[in-house]
């Protein structure tokens, strides 16, 4: 079982690394924030799986703090840092 949890955590880490591409590329600032949001949700899952793999229930508290604070960065972006006009340069 321990092996299995670890393998899934690794798989999630890989999807997270793939999500880094969206932060790099954008194109809009909001897209980058979305990718950061993906980082925090996936990290919650990775930490919970690692907690189960190492049988250390204290790690669940870290996931709890992550989940609690997931929204703060995105809200700071929406309320403060989002430019009022943004070039619509999505070229899909």
């Amino acid at each position: 079982m321990q092996m299995f949890y670890f393998a899934v955590a690794m798989f999630l880490l890989l999807t997270l690394i793939a999500g880094m591409w969206r932060i790099m590329r954008g194109p809009s600032t909001a897209d980058r924030i979305l990718a950061a949001q993906l980082f925090s949700t996936t990290s919650v899952a990775i930490i919970l799986l690692l907690a189960q793999a190492s049988d250390n229930s204290a790690l669940q508290d870290i996931a709890l703090v992550f989940a609690l604070l997931a929204a703060v960065t995105a809200i700071a972006f929406v309320q403060r840092a989002w430019p009022a006009e943004e070039a619509d340069n999505d070229n899909h």
Binding site: M1, A30, D31, L34, T41, T42, A67, A70, A74, E86
Partner: protein
């Protein structure tokens, strides 16, 4: 391995699949609205299913409640952030993909 173990393995694999779907959506979908939808729906569901899979392995009620709280918090903030970003994008007249 008991039946419970198999059940949680299946659930966690389904959860990981939803995470993969969410990431693929974030990478492949053409505009911010569709990406928002991929991310907040697929990832929150994936986390939920993973958490149910993990809950089956826990002994104490306290820990089960903690995992449930984690999921609820992620759902709450995910939904609110999705709304705020979509609304902001509409206000900034970012065109939806056609």
């Amino acid at each position: 391995m008991t039946i419970i173990d198999y059940l949680s393995i299946i659930l966690i694999i389904i959860g990981a699949f939803f995470f993969l779907a969410g990431t693929l959506g974030l990478l492949r979908f053409p505009d911010i609205y569709t990406r928002l939808h991929a991310l907040t729906k697929a990832d929150n569901l994936g986390l939920g299913i993973t958490i149910i899979g993990l809950m089956l392995q826990l002994e104490s009620i306290m820990a089960v409640g903690k995992l449930l709280l984690i999921w609820l918090l992620v759902l709450l903030s995910g939904a609110s952030v999705a709304h705020l970003i979509a609304k902001g994008a509409v206000q900034r007249k970012i065109r939806p993909w056609k």
